[in-house]
């Protein structure tokens, strides 16, 4: 009896003490402060070094490049109020606004960009995304150590507010490229003093964006206040930002459902259907495509007809309706919708290159290649990253190929890094991947299949394809550039070193009162224009 009484007493005491303090801890929310789950702890907040979605989102809150990507998909002026492009499209002159300031009140000048871009390209800094700057003249050569004089890099300050950039070749997407964090300016004197950890301390984390970092509690939260030195501060309507750091998507969902965060965009795949049925799930375009690499050097897969048969036999409509169930678009080409050149949607113009669910044609192709009804066809080895949604999809394809073509598939799930290593070594017949755009241009998807492409796991090589992409890089006129890319994509889908499956979407939940938050198709979230209603 006594034991039980004591135990009850223990729980009562605990509940009482914890309950009271708990209320206080939870309800102390400030007005207009947006709460969002960033995901894992940021690896860095240095714009030159960041590569992941959480890092880029936090940097986008605190910094601004020459341009900014607006919610309607347009490129709008950032630090640059205007720009001029030379007739050969190889020289960009940016005119910086005079009222652009660092969060400590000092002016942001052209020399800051020169410093920052040279810094990104320094081999010793080892910036993983330095290649984003490779379109600039001599940038790649400097980064690889071929030349050592930073003066040779094609960026110079003509005066305090004029920046001139010389490119290796016309780059139709350069204005969207400079909106990416690797191109953001950093405060030279501060960074030079404390390179390595200047971004860990709110006092030295000087930015030029809509918000300033106020506090960073390791692996718990980051808080931001509006930056009153920001040139466009009138557009910033939030009273602040609070990012929590939760890695488990199920926990993020619980926090959203408990009203602790305003936006949840990393949702557990298993809950999507329920959330959709409840009518609260929102979807947005994501510049991404899921596909299988085909190892074009592996046995029967060296035959284009076999590769084509595999691609045609898939019922993608069933795959998105019954397996992924997120309302995705099926992919009958490589480049997803939403990539525009000269105001024209590349995918809509190009249309599909292969039919969906064309079992008869697939069987005919396979018979032609010497495998009628799959007779004598070896077991195919499909490599997938363990976890994630890949295995269900793979099982669906396993069944489709078996019934349509008589081809058997062995699914081999591997831990992520082991998967990448095996894929890079060509140790597979088929390998499942998702690919996200680095910048908004068809080239971001098509360049993967260049003969020398580091991510071209298919080992497919085609000089004509390489030539088309090179020509498109040099082309200034939008319609002609689209045409070159269309020809390249048609060639690629004709040779079929990959099997496109579907274009994934971004799924998210958003509090009713939250407005104008921008989920960039490149993955990060921009809170500049967001507000929490009244």
């Amino acid at each position: 009896m006594k034991i039980r009484r004591r135990a009850i007493g223990f729980f009562l005491l605990m509940a009482l003490v914890l309950g009271c303090i708990g209320c206080a801890a939870n309800r102390g929310e400030e007005q207009g402060v947006l709460r969002y789950n960033l995901g894992p702890e940021p690896q860095t907040l240095d714009p030159a070094l960041a590569t992941g979605e959480p890092e880029l989102t936090a940097i986008l809150a605190c910094f601004e490049g020459l341009t900014r990507l607006a919610p309607n998909g347009e490129i709008v002026p950032g630090v640059a109020k205007d720009w001029a492009i030379s007739p050969d499209a190889c020289t960009y002159t940016f005119y910086l606004r005079e009222d652009a300031k660092w969060s400590n009140g000092e002016p942001v000048q052209a020399a800051d960009f020169v410093y920052s871009w040279r810094r990104v390209l320094q081999p010793e800094l080892a910036s993983p995304y330095a290649y984003q700057l490779y379109v600039i003249e001599n940038a790649a050569a400097f980064n690889s150590g071929e030349i050592t004089d930073p003066e040779l890099i094609g960026v110079q300050a003509l005066d305090a507010h004029t920046l001139q950039v010389d490119l290796e070749h016309p780059t139709g997407y350069f204005l969207s490229l400079v909106a990416f964090p690797t191109y953001f300016p950093v405060h030279g004197p501060l960074v030079g003093e404390r390179d390595g950890d200047w971004w860990l301390d709110p006092d030295t984390y000087i930015g030029n964006g809509p918000f300033v970092l106020k506090n960073w509690v390791g692996r718990q939260r980051l808080s931001f206040a509006p930056n009153d030195k920001y040139w466009d501060k009138d557009k910033v309507r939030l009273g602040g930002l609070e990012f929590v750091l939760v890695e488990d998507p199920a926990t993020e969902l619980a926090l959203f459902e408990a009203g602790d965060i305003h936006l949840a965009n990393h949702l557990p795949a298993g809950e999507l259907r329920r959330l959709k049925e409840e009518g609260c799930l929102r979807q947005g375009g994501d510049l991404a495509v899921n596909y299988y690499y085909i190892n074009t050097q592996a046995g029967p897969l060296a035959d284009t007809r076999v590769r084509r048969a595999l691609a045609l036999a898939i019922n993608r409509r069933d795959l998105v309706d019954f397996v992924t169930r997120g309302g995705e678009d099926i992919a009958l080409a490589l480049v997803p919708p939403g990539v525009e050149i000269g105001g024209v949607d590349f995918r809509r113009e190009g249309g599909p290159y292969i039919p969906d669910n064309a079992g008869d044609e697939a069987r005919a192709l396979l018979a032609e290649a010497g495998y009628p009804r799959g007779e004598g066809f070896p077991l195919l080895d499909l490599l997938i990253p363990a976890g994630g949604g890949f295995s269900l999809q793979a099982e669906a394809l396993q069944e489709m190929w078996f019934w349509e073509l008589g081809i058997e598939l062995a699914i081999r799930p591997l831990e992520w890094q082991t998967f990448l290593t095996s894929a890079a070594e060509g140790d597979f017949d088929l390998a499942a991947v998702g690919w996200n755009a680095d910048y908004i241009d068809p080239n971001s998807f098509l360049e993967v299949f260049l003969s020398q492409g580091g991510n071209n796991f298919s080992l497919w090589q085609n000089e004509e394809y390489d030539g088309l992409l090179a020509a498109a890089q040099m082309e200034v006129e939008p319609a002609r550039r689209r045409e070159l890319y269309h020809r390249a994509e048609e060639l690629l889908l004709g040779e079929m070193p990959l099997i496109p499956l579907y274009f994934p979407l971004r799924h998210y939940l958003q509090a009713e009162e939250l407005q104008d938050v921008f989920l960039s198709p490149l993955g990060m979230v921009d809170f500049k224009w967001a507000s929490l209603g009244d």
Binding site: I3, R6, V17, T51, E257, A258, Q417
Partner: protein, 332 residues
Amino acid sequence: MFFFPPWEWWTLSGPALGTRGMLSYLLRRGAGAVLVLWLVVTISFFLMHWLPGGPFTGEKRLPQAIERNLAERYRLGEPILRQYGAFLAHVIRGDLGPSFRYQGRSVNQLLWEAFPVSATVGILALSLALWVGIPLGIRGAVGRGSAGDVFIFFLTGLGMSLPTFVLAPLLLYIFALKLGWLPPALWGGPAHLVLPVLSLAFFPTALITRLVQGSMAAVLAADYLNLARAKGLGEKMVLYRHALPNALVPVLAYLGPLTAGILTGSFVVEGVFALPGLGEYFVNSIYNRDYGVIMGIALFYSALLVAINLAVDLALAYLDPRFTLTGRGEGG
């Protein structure tokens, strides 16, 4: 029951206990511990580098020039033995080096920040498990066959078979989402501790109850308790003063590894409740190939385990005269 690694066998023989015996015993255990830690560090180091990939292997293959720059900056291009030597030299000075993933932060700093979180949750869970488990076990042993005994049996069975990854989300769903009594996750006020502590305590509570119940039942049948009763001692005195210390021996033996495990956090519990503890590092540092953190966590955990095991052995020797530090074996 007690795990005693072969490389520590040489510590077994020795002079009988005394102050000097104790000192030499501690010295020998200390030397054994260093050997164990060195083995752990060495094996982990080479296994980790043997895994495919590296800290900078990402979804997108980087241009070769950049891969070269990274390898140079983080000294990954050097021969493995030289890296191993450099690592050992740092460890001896107590410096676990930088984290490869969390740039600008040292492994020492990451562990130092995360350990108090895991330890807070762990100590509370452990206290709860002992506080509830021991009395419950005694009750179960005393009232053998009663309805209470059956109930305890059922409850502990549930506790031992219900995995944390089911229990933790279940508690979260009921108490945070349905009832709204407690915050669903994050680290903040004490209210944030309740669900993680309960989830973490569930299994050890059940196990401790079972252990106490079993050993108590065995002890209760012993003659010396009849002697105690014959001397006219009250039943309470008999139970707590005479029976309990002997019944606690198996609990104590189990407490060593349990404490080390529970103090360093649980990947599942800390993941579900988004606690910034050590638990996450055990799994994610390997996925991320964060070499610094992998080594740090391996070393930290083994050092803690070795230290706590030593403490448990000392406590056992104090509690049970049959269990001597030199001629061990009968008690454990």
